[in-house]
């Protein structure tokens, strides 16, 4: 018997003719036609407890199904697509927390995406995001013109990501030193462009594809064995979003921990005597199904790694520059971070994270926070 046979069996009691008519007309006929947006809008919102923005605001409008309903009302012209009315579509961490609990395996950024694409085609975008779009179109860099850099040569390409290049340059330098200590020279390219995820979140698919094209062209050189990145969201974009748009990535792109956990396996490491709590990144745990960060940290002698209540695939993530939140509502991003910080601090005072956004936000809130590369550097005495 199959999943829907019970319907036919139940309908048979109304007569075989009725059963056949209903099943062929409705069940097997039209069912596939219901669009994702409608399914999500009609759902009881069983994922909302996992949505960081919803939890912090306490607002149904910012719950996943709430956002789908807003998109539905905009699409059906009940709501004008004003800046105020469309904000729930953009003020999202895009962290896919909803996806973990969705019976349809939806993620709200994807569900509302077609409506955002339609709005973008009508040149409708919140003012605060227009500057970001301009930066990406004009410079291929989230923050405007790219920093002056020299080309580094190496066997492995290092995609740093916009936020690491702009806000966390020391992290990039340290990553290069860590890999150098392990005998791997990292190549960097001043021309490296933004991965384009912001364009996707804005519904600017043409821009997203153009940024991807530029990046793929850079990656197409045969110089490199593979690429690494300090930004889990960059790894997610290359490995999940690009293929979704039919864009073939010619090189494997790994988040640093995915490579380091293998490179460090037989290395003699110094003790890092510290108790830390891990703040995972959604892009790794949910997006790429990777537990590389915890695997890496467990290799380091002396390091006592604790896990908070919400971790792994269920991580309550934060988001800033790698989302649209830093531009559309930075205060909201900080509230979400403060909420997460309270949970982390119940476990340990020192935080280790894989997320550049989390490092920036938690540091701004006064926490002692390390990127995983800083812990690895300590263990390698870099």
């Amino acid at each position: 018997m199959s999943e829907r046979d019970w319907i036919f069996e139940a309908l048979k009691e109304k007569g075989l003719g009725t059963a056949v008519r209903i099943v062929t007309t409705y069940i097997t006929g039209k069912l596939k036609g219901v669009e994702d947006l409608v399914k999500c809008a009609l759902c009881p919102n069983m994922c909302k407890f996992a949505c960081p923005v919803h939890i912090v605001l306490g607002s149904e409008t910012y719950s996943p199904a709430g956002r789908a309903r807003i998109a539905y009302y905009i699409k059906n012209k009940v709501l004008e697509p004003t800046e105020e009315n469309t904000k729930p579509l953009y003020a999202c961490l895009n962290c896919n927390a909803c996806n973990v609990w969705c019976p349809f395996e939806f993620a709200i950024p994807d569900v509302t995406h077609p409506v955002k694409v339609q709005l973008k085609k009508r040149d409708i975008l919140p003012e605060s995001l227009k500057r970001i779009e301009e930066n990406l179109r004009n410079y291929g860099f989230l923050y405007g013109s790219k920093p002056a850099e020299i080309t580094r040569k190496g066997k492995v390409l290092y995609l740093r990501g916009c936020t690491v290049r702009h806000h966390l340059r020391d992290l990039a330098r340290l990553t290069i030193e860590v890999f150098s200590k392990l005998g791997i020279d990292l190549a960097t390219l001043p021309k490296e462009s933004c991965c384009g995820i912001h364009a996707y979140y804005m519904g600017a698919d043409d821009l997203f594809k153009e940024l991807a094209r530029v990046n793929i062209e850079l990656l197409s050189s045969s110089e490199w064995e593979y690429a690494i990145t300090s930004c889990p969201v960059v790894a997610y974009t290359y490995r999940v979003l690009y293929p979704r748009f039919g864009i073939k990535v010619p090189l494997s792109v790994y988040y640093v921990a995915e490579v380091l956990k293998d490179l460090l396996k037989d290395k003699e490491l110094s003790e890092v005597k510290r108790t830390v709590v891990l703040h995972d990144s959604w892009a790794l745990t949910r997006g790429l199904n990777s537990s590389s960060v915890i695997e890496l940290l467990r290799l380091i002698p002396g390091l006592d790694v604790k896990l908070p209540m919400r971790h792994g695939r269920e991580v309550f993530d934060v988001g800033y520059y790698c989302t649209l939140l830093a531009f559309i509502d930075p205060e909201l991003a900080k509230k979400v971070a403060a909420e997460r910080l309270r949970e982390l601090k119940e476990v340990a005072n020192v935080i280790v994270t894989a997320s550049p956004d989390a490092k920036i936000l938690f540091a701004e809130l006064g926490a002692e926070v390390y990127d995983i590369i800083e812990i690895v550097a300590e263990a390698l005495r870099v």
Partner: protein, 476 residues
């Protein structure tokens, strides 16, 4: 322009003064009259509302939404509403299924979800949670620390502590842990004209009529629940899963009656009728035409062992092992049908009722028959999922296509009327745990009797003399 846009414009034009006044009291961050918020806070999750949403026929738009962050904020809102005669509609998780939340008269929606502090008292096995704490977050919080509340309604992921108390909720593990009324030790409520009633938690108290019970199941008609203290349990040391197939639904019910009579209290017992057995367990070979029963028995291992031996001795069905239970555990929160079938025009709903053992089987047959007799009904089925030594809850599901010329709302009302009348005829109770709301209100007088119903209305007048608290809910 859709008609809903005109309704929205009307709600917006009515909201101005209330919005400005509340902003003065609470600040802009806690108050909204944004069009998006007004639309979103116009309904609960009553399945018939899906058609209203889909067809852009929402009929109850509030004027203003507030998100209080403390009991003092709630007091301010209630005081303002009392002085200005503005209706207030409390909102928790919005998962109610009976239009208990429906801001028909505009007014103020008060969403409690920013009030979400949790305080665990391990020595006394109590947890105090503010009303807006989400159910799943509370359960995860307790599990992380080695405890459970044992309150696992299907709405766990959406519903809130305040909503549980206000609707007299119960959960899937109720046969062991009880309903919310068994868990509630203390409660804080804000009533008009802005007074706080704070009933402290005690293991038991004999201090006159139990006022806590006045608010359990009150569905917002007396006041706003702001905090509750609930009992918790150490996280179960052992869990045993059993399942059986029987030839009939009735046979399984009879075994369960005997098991409870013997004093065993499995946390979960669920018995599915023939249709629902096929719906959930289609993958079991030869299951067509049978009835499946699943059990979860959990707690301290010696007690669990004793309960398992009672169940195994009494229940005579064919053993199906753990997998049906695991299947239920994996799928119990998956609610896909609503999204899949409502857009195709199907109307469906669930109706949970209860009766003493002597009436349960008749109740099952009469309600199924009544629902099937309504023109348009295609499917009517049931399972039994909450048990007591004295009786059981039957949880019915119906689905159908409104006949030509009948709106989904009319068809829905007809099935409800048929089911409610059948329940009253048999002598069952019209609600086991979803509550009354506006959907069941027409039958509440008949359920309670004239004198009790009048008392309920008088109590409402005493506590809420101006009738501002969730007016018209439960017919009050």
């Amino acid at each position: 322009m859709p008609e809903l846009s005109s309704k929205l414009a009307k709600a917006l034009s009515s909201s101005g003064k209330i919005y400005k006044d509340l902003v003065k009291l609470l600040g802009t961050d806690k108050v909204s009259n944004r069009p998006a918020d007004i639309l979103i806070y116009s309904h609960d999750y009553a399945p018939i509302n899906l058609h209203r949403l889909l067809n852009l026929e929402l009929d109850a738009l509030p004027y203003v939404i507030v998100w209080p962050e403390s009991v003092d904020d709630v007091i301010e809102v209630v005081r303002y509403a009392y002085v200005n005669n503005v209706p207030i509609y409390p909102y928790g998780g919005g998962s109610g299924v009976l239009r208990g939340f429906a801001p028909e008269r505009g007014g103020i929606v008060i969403d409690l979800k920013r009030m979400r502090s949790i305080e665990l008292d391990e020595e006394n096995l109590m947890v105090t949670a503010e009303a807006g704490v989400n159910g799943m977050i509370l359960e995860e919080y307790l599990n992380y620390r080695g405890y459970t509340l044992g309150h696992i309604p299907q709405s766990l992921y959406e519903s809130t502590v305040g909503g549980w108390v206000a609707t007299k909720a119960t959960g899937q593990f109720s046969t062991k842990y009880g309903g919310i009324e068994d868990m509630l030790l203390g409660v804080e409520v804000v009533i008009p004209p802005g007074k706080v009633i704070s009933l402290r938690p005690h293991p038991r108290t004999a201090t006159g009529p139990d006022l806590r019970k006045l608010f359990i199941g009150s569905e917002g008609i007396y006041g706003i629940i702001t905090r509750a203290t609930l009992r918790v349990w150490p996280y179960p040391e052992k869990r045993v899963k059993l399942s059986f197939a029987t030839e009939t639904f009735e046979e399984a019910l009879n075994y369960i009656r005997q098991i409870l009579r013997a004093g065993a209290k499995p946390a979960v017992i669920r018995v599915y009728d023939r249709i629902e057995t096929l719906r959930h367990f289609y993958w079991i070979e030869g299951i067509k035409g049978k009835s499946v029963t699943i059990f979860i028995i959990e707690g301290e291992s010696r007690i669990v062992d004793a309960e398992v031996s009672i169940v195994e001795e009494i229940f005579k069905g064919k053993e199906l092992g753990e997998e049906p239970v695991n299947h239920w555990l994996r799928t119990r929160f998956i609610v896909k049908e609503a999204s899949e079938y409502a857009p195709l025009g199907f109307v469906f709903d669930t109706i949970e009722v209860a009766a003493p053992w002597s009436k349960v089987v008749r109740l099952y047959h009469e309600v199924i028959k009544a629902m099937n007799e309504v023109k348009g009904t295609l499917v009517a089925s049931a399972h039994a999922s909450h048990f007591y030594p004295q009786g059981a809850c039957l949880y019915f599901t119906f689905g159908g296509l409104p006949p030509t010329g009948t709106s989904p709302y009319e068809y829905h009302s007809k099935v409800w009327a048929a089911a409610m009348e059948a329940v009253l005829k048999v002598g069952g109770t019209i609600s086991h745990h979803h509550g009354i709301g506006r959907v069941r209100a027409p039958w509440l007088r008949k359920e309670l009797g004239d004198e009790a119903y009048e008392l309920l209305k008088k109590l409402k007048e005493v506590v809420d003399e101006k009738g501002i608290m969730n007016p018209s809910n439960m017919g009050c």
